[in-house]
Symmetry: C2
């Protein structure tokens, strides 16, 4: 039982964490902190939090666990604000989509308290946001990556991992750098590609005509272009070097395929398409059989 | 009432057309033709067709309407096979995803009977295929593009349009060239991009690790990479010049965004993301309000 939990950002991610722990009977008193008074009051009304903190320092004083679920660009400022009030027994974790930049900000803000900060990333979400989007089952069966630091002790790591397990999540381990490379490839780049396609079409002279004929394939392909521009600006910049490497790899792939197309090389195009379909079918089969969750590479705990 | 209908290809597209017309009481006798005897027998057993044709010529003799729903690369061969048996009152249409190449093949095969060929493209489908995937409601509320030729007379155009309307579809008109430009942008390019991403990841040394962390955003983005490689090879090659133009435009867009990323230009990236999200929301709102179907540009009929 975590007697006191402080949550910075009481929307979809932070709110669902609080609701899940409350449902599991694992949370005592939950204190919410945030920039929006309206969101905090809504979270209080919905029973997500038990108290609105009067200050960041008050929120963390005496807390067992602090979760940062605010936009990643605010990580440094929040950690600087709480550092003076951070007691030795308190563990801090976060839910940011990038990890190297978060670790850098945490080292700068926390100094010799860095061992109390356990970087995390729950692989769950939706296009909705705010306290009303929070769901007690959001993390059930989902992955949470813990990007442990050399300074983290076993107690801190176990406290964070156990909290997420009580939300129903499965814990994976990746280094912050490896985490950022992996998510650049399978999440951050696809977001950029979807935004790029919709913007490209929207800027054409005949955009209205083109959208007229866009159908369900286009809708699914571009669903992630409905995500928050501010959030994805921050993620893209925070993970800049890994993103540049993935983007260069993808542009080179498109140049190769452009060559096949220009040459009318049907067998080469079909080989790319068939390899992609086969890899995707294997991936979907692994997800559906559950091995995608229960037999991970890269370190499950 | 169409007394006799011949369908080349009795799978998802051709089978659904036959079922819809039968449900509407608009089809008399439906004859099926195809390369796979098993598919034809299955279509017969399912009541999609009433008869398996003994030859392409027999199938079209005396038919009111002939639908080509086989892969587009077979269009020329089928039209050459049926041309000698094509009577003056018979109208031929197709369901191919590209139109310029189909028109070219039809002109070569049909000669002075070209006016009897009305190019069409139903904007509907699914990842499933074969007679068992056929649904009488597949075309309900969906768009069908008719890419009329100067040689088509009003009777032929009306016969094809009315058949599709009896399937529940809404008729749009585009020239073959315009059709191919539009679908290169909103359908063919996204397919190539999705295949390209999955293949790019699958070829990396750490592909298994990467797929381990791919989640729902990746799944939707790459859904169309589950489509038939053979079919998309043919579409890509058939629409090569429009595809090259769209692919070059998209690569240039990625190069611009790469520059923003390398420069750490957050406002520029956010502007692209925000423009994309706004354009997509406007498009979704138009679909949901029905204006995407009922107030088209480009010529609704």
């Amino acid at each position: 039982m975590l007697q006191k939990i402080a949550i910075f950002g009481v929307g979809l991610i932070g709110g669902s964490f609080a609701l899940a722990l409350k449902n599991a009977g694992a949370a005592g008193h939950v204190v919410g902190v945030g920039r929006s008074r309206a969101s905090l009051e809504r979270a209080l009304a919905l029973g997500i939090i038990d108290e609105i903190a009067t200050s960041a320092a008050d929120a963390v004083r005496g807390a067992d666990l602090v979760l940062l679920a605010a936009p990643v660009a605010q990580t440094g400022a929040i950690l600087r604000a709480i550092e003076p009030a951070l007691e030795a027994g308190t563990v801090v974790t976060d839910a940011g989509s990038t990890k190297s930049d978060v670790v850098q900000a945490a080292r700068a803000a926390l100094g010799n308290k860095i061992g109390q900060f356990v970087p995390g990333h729950p692989i769950a979400g939706s296009e909705s946001n705010g306290p009303d989007a929070a769901l007690p089952r959001l993390y059930a069966g989902k992955k949470v990556v813990i990007a442990a630091l050399p300074e983290n002790d076993e107690r801190s790591l176990a406290l964070v991992a156990n909290a997420w397990r009580q939300c129903g999540a499965v814990i994976y381990r990746l280094s912050p750098e490896r985490h950022d490379q992996v998510f650049a490839a399978v999440s951050h780049l696809p977001h950029l590609l979807a935004y790029a396609l919709v913007d490209d079409i929207a800027n054409k002279a005949n955009a209205d005509l083109l959208f007229q004929y866009a159908a369900s394939g286009f809708r699914d392909f571009t669903r992630i272009a409905g995500s928050s521009p501010e959030m994805w600006r921050d993620i893209t910049l925070a993970n800049r070097s890994a993103m540049l490497a993935e983007l260069d790899s993808y542009i080179a792939q498109l140049q190769r395929m452009r060559g096949m197309l220009a040459a009318g090389d049907g067998p080469a195009l079909e080989a790319v398409f068939a390899n992609a379909r086969q890899a995707r079918e294997k991936w979907i089969a692994a997800i559906e059989s559950g091995t995608g969750t229960t037999a991970p590479q890269g370190g499950q705990q």
